[in-house]
């Protein structure tokens, strides 16, 4: 009696798994082997969008760790050159980000390496700012010309939340769009000057920033 009821209960418990298995065929989880290295081609548009004021470059790398998890990192630099009648302001800096992406795409096609992912990053930038040919308006007094702000170096740290897509457009070649929400943890410290931009983050005087990247990457298999 007990053996029969035990058997019926086991069948009932296994029923959803059994039916689920009949519904969709499950292929092995994305096993992108090797490392994927790419470039953010939207950075090529910086000089166009900002009329020559900014120039930058960003590279990305990611690697499948286990299951739906990928380890990822980005690195880049930013150059800012503001030419105004009252100042010539320059910034130069590097940035790096490290974190992980989690693949959200559940239903798979055979041999599909496309992913839709959510991710997190820790970002850090080291950069410098300076200004020359500065004119300080005197208001009541005569304007002061020929001033300069000496070069000084500072850092910023932040956290990012990402959402993106990577699709394999040709064998081993991926294209993808990433949306980022960034929150500053450590603001760049300078007693007198607020940086115009923080490389890799965004506006120098806000604690929150949004970003879009368009990556083209190649999977190097090993």
């Amino acid at each position: 009696m007990r053996r029969i009821s035990g058997f019926i209960i086991s069948v009932l418990l296994l029923l959803p798994v059994w039916c689920g298995a009949q519904d969709t065929v499950r292929y092995p989880v994305n096993e992108m082997k090797g490392i994927r290295i790419g470039v953010d081609i939207s950075k090529l548009l910086l000089p166009v969008i900002y009329s020559g004021e900014r120039m930058g470059f960003e590279a990305t790398a990611d690697m499948h760790i286990k299951g739906n998890l990928f380890g990822a990192a980005e690195a880049g630099w930013l150059y800012v050159n503001l030419d105004d009648t009252a100042y010539h302001y320059r910034e130069n800096g590097l940035y790096g980000k490290i974190g992980a992406d989690y693949n959200l795409l559940k239903s798979r096609r055979p041999n599909s390496n496309d992913i839709v992912y959510a991710g997190v990053r820790y970002g850090l930038s080291v950069f410098s700012q300076q200004a020359g040919q500065v004119t300080i308006p005197g208001h009541f007094w005569p304007d002061a010309t020929g001033h300069s702000i000496p070069k000084n170096t500072m850092q910023a740290h932040w956290l990012e939340l990402l959402f993106g897509v990577k699709a394999e457009v040709l064998k081993n070649l991926y294209a993808g769009l990433t949306f980022r929400v960034k929150f500053k943890i450590v603001s760049p410290k300078d007693n007198y000057s607020t940086p115009y931009q923080v490389p890799g983050f965004g506006n120098g005087n806000s604690g929150f920033s949004l970003g879009i990247n368009y990556y083209v990457s190649y999977n190097i298999r090993f």
């Binding site: 096609r109 002061a144 007693n191």
Partner: protein
């Protein structure tokens, strides 16, 4: 393969429209004017010597000590702003309270230039050094409350953090 081509073409379209949108965004929505304050000034508040209470002085006349350029001409104030001279480490003003004899004060400071923003440009911050010189006629005493001279707001009703107190 059809799926991949669709995704790739979709993303190219997103990139194209995204670029157009961001160029338009930057071109049309940038602030035209300096939104933050870009004036640094020594904030001077008036006080009554006998009560230590805030004092509204009538017919305040403040001029530059040497060439008599007028900064404040005969209105009533309890607080005035003396702009920092970005080319010098000291500045002198003649201050007259209504019909009382005028006083000459000299403020000494160290300067630091700073960049505020792309629209506002640069300013000169100052740190007041020592006590201001005073040629006494009507002012009983002066007190440096805060030596850090920062940007100030000239908007109606805004009370800026005071740097110096003048007692009558």
């Amino acid at each position: 393969m059809v799926y991949l081509r669709f995704v790739a073409s979709l993303m190219l379209k997103i990139l194209m429209w995204g670029s157009i949108a961001s160029i338009a965004w930057v071109a049309f929505s940038c602030e035209e004017f300096c939104e933050e304050s870009n004036r640094t000034a020594v904030v001077v508040s008036f006080y009554a010597e006998n009560t230590n209470a805030s004092l509204t002085v009538n017919n305040v006349l403040i001029t530059e000590a040497e060439n008599s350029d007028t900064l404040y001409s005969k209105s009533n104030y309890s607080q005035v702003m003396l702009p920092v001279n970005p080319s010098s480490d000291m500045m002198s003003f003649s201050i007259q309270n209504d019909t009382l004899p005028a006083d000459t004060i000299t403020i000494r400071y160290t300067r630091h230039d700073g960049f505020i923003s792309s629209k506002c440009g640069c300013v000169t911050y100052a740190e007041i050094q020592g006590e201001p010189d005073l040629k006494e006629h009507s002012i009983t005493r002066m007190e440096v409350v805060s030596p850090n001279v920062a940007t100030v707001s000239y908007r109606q009703g805004v009370i800026n953090a005071e740097n110096i107190r003048i007692y009558y």
